[in-house]
Amino acid sequence: MKKHTGASDSLLQIGVLVGALVLALLVGAGLILLARADPVTAYKAMFTGPVSGRYGITESLVKATPLLLIGLGIIISFRSGILNIGGEGQMIAGSLAGAAVALALPNWPAAALLPLTMVVGVLAGAVWGGIAGWLKARLSVNEILSTVMLNQIAFQLNLYLIRGPMIDPQEVAYGTGCPQTALLPRSIWLPRIIRGTRFHWGLVIAVAFAVLVYIFLWRTIIGYRMRASGAGPQAARAAGIQVENYQIIAMAFAGGFAGLAGVVEVLGVHHRVLEGLSGGYGFSGIVVALFGRLHPLGCIPASIVFGMLTLGADMMQRAVSIPAAIVMAIQGLVVLFVVASDLLIRRPDLLRRRQAAARR
């Protein structure tokens, strides 16, 4: 294969990504027609909403925060050759465990309770992800299937806990019975960056972690071994790398980041655990990771793009009553188009050969 210059290579990559997004949105326009609405008005609401005014911009960033954190974890797992579809479950595990600790120790000083809550959330997510990693490494259980099942289990456990043992005592006292936990101590809520909005410090934490993940994957021995395990397990094994162990570590990391996303969502946005907190972020995180071309820094703009898209879909639902579910369909298409176009990025020679054959 001919070698490509760096510049034309990254240009091709960006071109392919933009192409995939545009194509997905075009098909999405067809879906809007199917939903008996006008695509132009719908997309106008969807694209102008998130960029006009303080509300749109800050809410997009609020939505980008869990996407970025989950995406970072997914990058670590994908780069290590293990597919984590369990972001939803790991996020729930993190939010539940973090909230449980914070609610159990309301008299602790915030300086100790806040870090403890976050660490517990990360650990819970890491355990939830680590289970799938361990099952894969030791019993060769397909990690995609096990993480999907762990999602369902976490989802039901969450329902059980917030309807029963962890329900807000006030909900019981007033007889409303809304399935949610009590509010966490106000002292550990993540401060808002802009007053009067929900934009909190979580994004700063997430961006800092993006840089750390980059350093971890490309500048440390463990990161190198993880990438080697993903790039070629046979070769890595031959070089003495214990691929299976790194797969477990990778899944624990992925789960830890999703757990952090969960606990940050609790501390920064809802201040309690409620139903549907994970809200598809686990799946959208995969899209963000792929769209960031599995690079931690690429993940930052990708998370903002999809944060805006998610918010835009909500605003479109309110403006022209097209169900926001459409954004999941569009994201699915983005995934399909991005992975399908990998062939063009991996083997641009195929594309050129085909063009040459056509010209002949």
């Binding site: 879906l31 199917l34 939903a35 008996r36 597919l83 579809i85 099952l135 019993l139 060769s140 259980v141 397909n142 995609i144 299937l145 096990s146 999907v148 099942m149 762990l150 369902q152 289990i153 039901q156 456990l157 329902l159 059980y160 309807r163 029963g164 799946f283 995969i286 899209v287 792929l290 097209i322 169900p323 579910a325 459409i326 954004v327 999941m328 369909a329 569009i330 994201q331 699915g332 298409l333 983005v334 995934v335 399909l336 992975v339 399908a340 176009s341 990998d342 062939l343």
Partner: protein, 310 residues
């Protein structure tokens, strides 16, 4: 539970279990062909959702559950074709493309449900067809022979799939393409054409499985009606070691478990509802942990075929 005899309960669980095996059988047998040919289709859950929706809406609109089944099969086959294009022609990573397909179908079924329906209603479905004579056998009759045609058909597909896979030329080609595609190619088998056929077949059968959930069982549609059954069906292919008989055993094991869970709720046995729902998912992981040994897997599973690489 005094009113229901112990024997009646056991017969009830078994009959429910046979009925609930149908969607697993349809989806898993279809996925078995796809995986035997070398393509791992994880989009099954989403295809089932779309099949369930298409079956429901067609039956609601036309009043004919038969047309509903046909529509579901058509939609499933079309989505299978999409998956085949992405994974065979474009040689994309199959795990991720399957998840992409699942997300697409998940969003699309949610969108269409809200736009065209928005509320829970019931459609015309299939009633039971009691097989003459056999359905009157005491105990066995109600368990085995008082179901609707889809249940019998799902069981019939087990020997049919076995025959097709092991006793026909096409089945031989499928197995060859999934284990040694280079050799099959050398012998003049069109590897990618066989894979396309298998993935489309798998999609059609997943659509049929979805239709069972709406017109064959509940006669209604609700959001997320599949509740992970499509993913469990993929797991059952592993658990059944890529063989029709293994898949039958796995499907029955799971559907009996599901039936037990439902009856626990029906009988009002005090047990947190959420834990009852969790049982099949925990069991799926356990089943994968004890059953999966890579030895039985088609060797070319998940690997796109490139002629020039050979």
């Amino acid at each position: 539970m005094g009113a229901i005899s112990g024997q009646g309960v056991i017969a009830g669980i078994l009959a429910t279990g046979i009925r609930l095996a149908a969607p697993f059988l349809f989806a898993s047998l279809g996925e078995m062909f796809a995986q035997r040919s070398g393509v791992f289709n994880l989009g099954l859950e989403g295809i089932m959702m779309m099949g369930a929706f298409a079956g429901f809406m067609t039956s609601l609109g036309t009043g004919s559950p038969w047309l509903g089944v046909l529509a579901a099969i058509g939609v499933g086959a079309a989505l299978g074709l999409l998956m085949a294009f992405i994974s065979v022609t474009m040689q994309a990573e199959q795990g991720i493309s399957g998840i992409g397909l699942h997300m697409f179908c998940w969003g699309l079924s949610g969108l269409l449900f809200r736009v065209y329906l928005g509320f829970i209603t019931s459609c015309k479905g299939f009633g039971p067809w009691n097989i003459p004579v056999l359905s009157h056998i005491p105990v066995l009759g109600p368990i085995l022979f008082q179901h609707n045609w889809m249940v019998y058909f799902s069981l019939l597909l087990v020997p049919v799939s076995w025959f097709v896979l092991y006793r026909t030329t096409w089945g031989l080609k499928v197995r060859a393409v999934g284990t040694t595609p280079q050799a099959a190619d050398t012998l003049g088998v069109n590897v990618n054409a066989i894979r396309y056929q298998c993935v489309v077949l798998g999609g059609a059968m997943a659509g049929l499985a979805g239709a069972f959930l709406t017109v064959g069982q509940a006669n209604m549609y609700a959001d997320n009606i599949t509740a992970g059954r499509g993913f469990i069906a993929v797991a059952l292919v592993y658990f059944g070691r890529w063989s029709p008989v293994g898949i039958l055993l796995g499907s029955l094991l799971f559907s009996m478990m599901n039936a037990l869970q439902l009856w626990i709720q029906v009988l009002g046995i005090s047990f947190p509802y959420e834990f009852a729902v969790i049982m099949p998912y925990v069991m799926t992981i356990a089943a994968l942990a004890v059953a999966v040994r890579r030895v039985w897997a088609p060797t070319a599973l998940g690997k796109p075929f490139r002629r020039e690489a050979g």
